[in-house]
């Protein structure tokens, strides 16, 4: 009986702990409810001595060899500004870090966010609008390529400013091209086909394309080159199942069977290129140090991707500068953050050395930038980079397209139109679910 007498209080204590724990959880949500960014307007003042010394937290996802270049800019900024001290933190698992920091109100003052993530992070209350910062620092949209600039405007407000553009890039083995009788990389579809065919023989591949990343990005690029778009303008419908989409995939499949190898896994083209048996590959500009210069034992070069279809278009991403939500906005910190953002934009030529194209047109056409190769010869691509519509969760809707393009390239699906239609139907469902989930404004 003693056993019975004690089991009930025991269970009671257990339940109490549970209830207390659950209660704690809902209390936390109530706190963050009152801190929604729309209610905290930015007060922008000129940063001056009345603020004393301000410390800014600056987060970015530059875990690769590009990180030290960013650190160099930050050090230079700190040396020039006695009253502002920027502390840079480089994070991996970046968006998970931002989410958890948002939940615990420890977001940094300035953060890098990728262009296609700006809307999602704005709707999730991680970012706040910075229209006032932009105006106060004389940052002008006309100085940036329209696509990269528009990616930062969400539901009528500005959340980010483009720092750089990282486009799809063509890497070529100049030794193999020279052996085949070509001394310049291709710029048109005809030249591309001629070189790829000439380099392809029993042991070498003229061009190599996989069935993994970044083939959806390659598809997207060709889709735009053939005059199509991925989504309609307001991001409510997938539109890749057009004639242009079919043309893009027909080109990719022909390229695979004529010059490449069937059904290659992700990164196979990079590994084979580094082995010296591939003439041409397309991958992100961030692979430059990996597959050119000292990274390889042959003359590896990088340049802008050629124009295959009738329209110029290049796939690309963009790192954008943002100001995350603060529980207690501080006008001194906001002004200092504005000064820092402006400095990063004006000095992005140092950042270009890390293998990026500065988004700012003035910096990108400066003599100092044009002296940096191969970035300078890739730079014309920046004008033609397109971005998905700035709606939250847009990257989710690319999932079905990834699967369709990948299965077509792997040969597990053969009907191009049917695969694209099916992917568009599933993407439309995702877009509708996201719209229902995120609502119309942050």
């Amino acid at each position: 009986m003693k056993f019975k007498k004690w089991i009930f209080p025991g269970i009671g204590i257990l339940l109490l702990i549970l209830l207390a724990a659950c209660g704690g959880g809902s209390e936390e949500t109530a706190v963050s409810e009152s801190d929604t960014p729309a209610e905290a307007p930015l007060v922008v003042e000129e940063f001056d001595d009345s603020c004393g010394t301000v410390e800014l937290q600056y987060w970015n996802p530059f875990t690769g060899p590009d990180g030290p270049f960013m650190g160099e800019i930050v050090e230079a900024f700190n040396a020039e500004n006695d009253n502002i001290s920027v502390v840079m933190t480089t994070q991996s698992e970046y968006y998970t870090q931002l989410s958890t920091a948002a939940a615990s109100n420890t977001l940094p003052d300035v953060a890098i966010v990728h262009a296609d993530q700006v809307a999602t992070q704005a709707f999730r209350n991680i970012l706040r609008p910075i229209d006032e910062i932009v105006t106060a620092n004389g940052i002008n949209g006309a100085d940036y390529p329209a696509g990269a600039w528009n990616a930062g405007e969400v539901a009528g407000r500005r959340y980010s400013i483009p720092l750089d553009i990282h486009p799809m890039t063509m890497f070529y083995n100049a030794d193999l091209l020279a052996a085949a009788g070509f001394d310049a990389p291709p710029t048109t579809g005809e030249e591309f086909a001629a070189i790829a065919a000439a380099v392809t023989d029993g042991s070498n591949n003229g061009f190599m394309i996989t069935s993994g990343f970044p083939i959806r990005q390659i598809f997207d690029m060709l889709l735009y080159q053939y005059g199509g778009t991925s989504f309609n303008a307001d991001g409510t419908e997938a539109t890749w199942n057009s004639e242009a989409g079919v043309q893009a995939l027909e080109w990719m499949l022909a390229a695979q069977s004529d010059w490449s190898q069937p059904n290659l896994e992700v990164d196979a083209e990079l590994n084979a290129f580094k082995g010296g048996t591939v003439g041409l590959i397309w991958n992100g500009i961030w692979q430059t140090t990996n597959v050119t210069g000292d990274g390889v034992e042959f003359d590896g070069q990088a340049t802008a991707v050629p124009q295959i279809g009738p329209q110029p278009a290049t796939w690309g991403g963009s790192h954008q500068l943002t100001m995350p939500t603060q529980a207690e906005p501080d006008s001194c910190k906001d002004a200092a953050a504005g000064t820092f953002i402006k400095y990063l934009l004006d000095n992005s030529v140092t950042w270009a050395q890390a293998g990026q194209l500065p988004a700012n047109n003035v910096v990108r056409s400066s003599a100092e930038f044009l002296a940096i190769e191969p970035q300078a010869s890739i730079a014309p691509s920046a004008e033609h980079v397109f971005f998905p519509p700035a709606v939250p969760g847009i990257t989710d809707a690319y999932g079905p397209l990834d699967e369709a393009v990948s299965s077509l390239m792997a040969g597990t699906a053969t009907d191009i139109q049917a695969a694209l239609d099916d992917a568009a139907a599933r993407a439309n469902q995702i877009l509708a679910e996201n719209k229902d989930n995120y609502g119309d404004s942050p």
């Binding site: 009986m1 003693k2 549970l18 896994e265 990257t395 990834d402 699967e403 792997a410 597990t412």
Partner: protein
């Protein structure tokens, strides 16, 4: 003291007479109970709670009570989640059926071999167990570099031998074969050690008397080793099924869940990876929680059936 009088009669419920403060047993379990409540109990109930919501912890204004709608989505064929969730769950179940038999039989064979007095057996015990100490990420990356097609170790040697190698990571069924091989290499040592420990508990005189009776070594294995290993084999089977159900890191690093399927999802995408993507890439924590609970329910039924099956035979 009528209660005490009653208790004395019910000796079945109370085999030992308790003395001292009755709160003492609870104090003994308290340290573990506390950690269990904080890290298992609370998250469990909180997960159940959010599975009834359209939920995002950063958007409290958009957190709506939807009751069973998240679960209904998993059973509605034209929902976003239906094709990818069931594809992933099917993949995981397929992996359980593919992986559990080799993960039981190979360790059993190894344990029996290493239980004999072969020279250098401690060295071999160490070698077979060694991969188990590696983290999942290391194993996944090793797997990728072993099986990848351009200069991967395996393909390099296969080509040297003049064998045409399949696309291990990007075609079926080879993607499963690669994941299975790397999983067996990684975890075989753990089951082996447990079975080995059980083998050493079998008294040597049983084998001696069987030998006197004229039983050969196969007969000894079937009539002595297998029956006496039975409880341990049940345990090993159940934990291996659970471990295989939790498959995540090997496909995450080796195939990314691919090869992709035009009908949605990937051919080696396990259900745990799908839940992660739903919750942390799509930020749909409510549906991700409902997926978790459906999978947990299936796992509980699976384990329960297992114990029942083995128990009724005894």
């Amino acid at each position: 003291m009528t209660a005490a009088g009653k208790a004395e009669k019910r000796t079945l419920l109370q085999p030992h007479k308790r003395t001292g403060n009755p709160i003492v047993p609870y104090l003994f379990v308290a340290p573990h109970l506390l950690f269990f409540m904080v890290f298992v109990g609370y998250p469990f109930f909180y997960g159940l709670y959010i599975s009834f919501f359209q939920y995002d912890f950063l958007r409290p204004d958009a957190t709506n009570f939807v009751f069973l709608e998240n679960y209904a989505k998993l059973f509605t064929p034209d929902s976003v989640q239906f094709p990818v969730f069931w594809n992933a769950l099917g993949n995981t179940v397929e992996f359980v059926f593919l992986s559990v038999p080799p993960l039981i039989i190979i360790p059993l064979i190894l344990a029996v071999l290493l239980n004999t007095k072969v020279p250098g057996r401690n060295f071999f015990r160490g070698i077979y167990f060694a991969p188990w100490v590696l983290s999942a990420a290391v194993v996944g990356l090793l797997g990728f570099w072993m099986f990848q097609s351009q200069g991967g170790l395996l393909n390099y040697y296969l080509i040297q031998m003049g064998i045409e190698a399949p696309r291990w990571l990007s075609s079926m069924p080879w993607a499963w074969v690669s994941i299975l091989l790397i999983t067996i290499w990684w975890t075989v040592g753990f089951n082996m050690i447990i079975i080995l420990a059980a083998l050493q508990d079998i008294p040597a005189h049983l084998y001696e008397s069987a030998a006197i009776d004229g039983a050969n070594s196969w007969r000894q294995f079937v009539s002595i080793t297998i029956p006496l290993l039975r409880p341990v084999m049940v345990f090993v089977t159940v934990i291996t099924i659970i471990a295989s159900f939790n498959l995540f890191a090997q496909p995450f690093f080796m195939t990314g869940g691919g090869p992709a399927q035009a009908s949605g999802g990937g051919a080696t995408e396990p259900v745990m990876l799908r839940i992660y993507r739903e919750g942390f890439e799509r930020n749909q924590l409510g549906t991700a929680a409902s997926m978790s609970f459906l999978v947990a329910t299936i796992m509980i039924l699976f384990s329960y059936t297992n114990f029942r099956l083995f128990r009724t035979r005894e």
